[in-house]
Symmetry: C2
Subunit: 225 residues, 2 copies
Amino acid sequence: MNISVLGTGMVGRTIAGRLHELGHTVAIGTRDPQATLARVDPDQMGNPPFTTWHAAHPGVELTTFADAAARASLLVNASSGGATLDVLDLAGADNLRGKVLLDVANPLDFSAGFPPTLSVKDTDSLAEQVQRAYPEVKVVKSLNTLTASLMVDPGSLGESSTVFVSGDDAGAKAEVVELLKSFGHDDVIDLGPLETARGTEMLLPLWLRVMGALGTGQFNFKVVR
Amino acid sequence: MNISVLGTGMVGRTIAGRLHELGHTVAIGTRDPQATLARVDPDQMGNPPFTTWHAAHPGVELTTFADAAARASLLVNASSGGATLDVLDLAGADNLRGKVLLDVANPLDFSAGFPPTLSVKDTDSLAEQVQRAYPEVKVVKSLNTLTASLMVDPGSLGESSTVFVSGDDAGAKAEVVELLKSFGHDDVIDLGPLETARGTEMLLPLWLRVMGALGTGQFNFKVVR
């Protein structure tokens, strides 16, 4: 499948690399490819620059958000939550129309430091904001409840754990669930319409505090029933 | 131990019954014991009136919030979140002083229907509101992330799952953890200071949507790591 990932951070890289490994044709979109390739210093989280990752993953093409969106049938929003609407604007409504958009971002607001708060919650969600802005895009929320490496390799925990999907389009959700299964997810709970993304986005404040208590982000929630 | 439960709803009854079964001296507090005993109809959730439950648990004494608070060394806040500050006011600061208060309530706001939103979140929590109002009470937040029957009998799921504790007083937290273990909880994560209750209270929007998807509240989250 032609899949494009929007965002060159650790989440975008991790998902793009795994999709390519699984045999998909993968592009990764950024605002300005030349600027992305010109960076040589680690980012503010200490992650190596994109070029370091790209050298190890030459099969993933770096391109603009617009070109990335145009060439794919399925898109992954791996931009930061605060940038998502800008990123989609750059991708362009014409390039997005009719596509499935797997939204893995969270609306984190770091303006008051750590831990971040949520810029939208309880009565709305980032996923719904995106859906309202692009009614012809099939938005599916998933994977926003666990760290990047576990998004694409949950089996590394050595025990089954849960991911959730929320979306208004049944076909798009089925497509995303197939993708999740190919990553190794064996417990996918369909929460229902996109409104239910309010629930998974609001898990983040707990996720952050569990990470603080455990000293690692290498964990995931399992719904025991 | 002398333990009092504030609140005669299903959560209060379930916890009080279990504590009594475990050998504690248990009182259950209500606004007006005569009024509580006079009710003969099921509540708005369809639960049987208090008297039905009380007939099966005669060892648990029904009394006022103030008397319940005065006689116990450990209190359980099982009132609804919206009523909690009123309930504690009726219990009385003098009766609460120096006590451990296990707060299992969530700040649910049903004013816009179902699903409820949270009346406080992200930058504050019900637990912190209580702590600020009663600085001499040792507030510990726990058990607010699962349904009443599983609060006191998590083993009925047939698989280990997680509960969280948040609180500023280490001794009070240790006391609560002992109680949790006596209920059968074998995976207790200490999230740290009471501020971390923001995380567990914000789990409720997801909990409600998982309940909707599964059609039952008989589930719990496990932190797989």
